[in-house]
């Protein structure tokens, strides 16, 4: 089912906004994550962990799900389809993997924030927590790969897409 041009443009604008917003939110999160990884100051660590939890739960997770949803709408509502082109299929898989890793990582982030919110915790306790830098930097790399795939749309149909295309040409 193909969307009408006006609806397609609106869905595309929404998808770009949400997907790029996801990257921006992760970039902001990484700034806090770097502070959590490098700072020795207890107040900075407390502030960083608490802000990381807020950004993760109230910005990054909603943007991730909204990007995934609008991506599905865009692929199913246009000629690209979901399983016809490799760039769409790989983007979908990477988005699902990134969302799953994000949801697992929020458990760690919430744990950090719980410790940071406890006033009885010492500076040593906070310094021992560490950061989620490996996951957040890895996450933004994956999101940038998806972005590049979506902009360049490299050629290449899946076997399913090729078969469908031949069937449509014959009809």
């Amino acid at each position: 089912m193909n969307m009408k041009p006006r609806l397609r443009k609106f869905a595309l604008a929404a998808h770009i906004t949400l997907a790029v917003g996801w990257i921006g939110a992760v970039a902001g999160y990484i700034a806090l994550d770097v502070a959590a990884a490098t700072s020795q100051d207890a107040q900075t660590l407390r502030a960083a962990y608490l802000a990381m939890e807020l950004i993760a739960w109230y910005v990054i997770v909603p943007l991730a799900f909204a990007s995934l949803l609008t991506g599905l709408v865009m692929s199913l509502g246009t000629k690209w389809g979901l399983f016809r082109h490799y760039w769409v299929l790989i983007s979908l898989l990477l988005t699902i993997i990134a969302t799953i890793v994000l949801l697992v990582e929020t458990q760690t982030i919430s744990y950090f924030a719980e410790i940071a919110a406890d006033p009885t915790r010492s500076s040593d306790d906070l310094r021992a927590l560490g950061s989620t830098l490996v996951h957040s930097v890895g996450g933004i790399v994956v999101l940038l790969v998806i972005l590049v795939l979506n902009v360049y749309k490299p050629r290449g149909m899946t076997r399913y897409g090729w078969r469908k295309q031949q069937e449509e040409r014959r009809m």
Partner: protein, 73 residues
């Protein structure tokens, strides 16, 4: 003799093969890194390493949070 007029599938593009190869290498490196560094996940941050999110109370509370002498009425 029956001959299909459907052109043959051109095959998986080279960029997909290269991409999949890179992903496999990265995943293997990550798995190796995790195996070498020990635990992975929230549990690695707990002193007991039980992953339950429960950390024993700190013994340095008095050092960090005791009010200064002048504040004691």
């Amino acid at each position: 003799m029956y001959m299909s007029n459907r052109p043959p599938y051109p095959g998986t593009p080279r960029w997909v093969k290269v991409f999949v190869f890179i992903v496999i290498v990265v995943v293997l490196l990550l798995v190796a890194g995790m195996l070498l560094s020990g635990e992975h996940g929230p549990g690695r941050h707990t002193p007991s390493g039980d992953g339950s999110g429960q950390v024993p109370p700190s013994f340095s509370v008095t050092k960090d949070h005791a009010p200064p002498e002048g504040d004691r009425g």
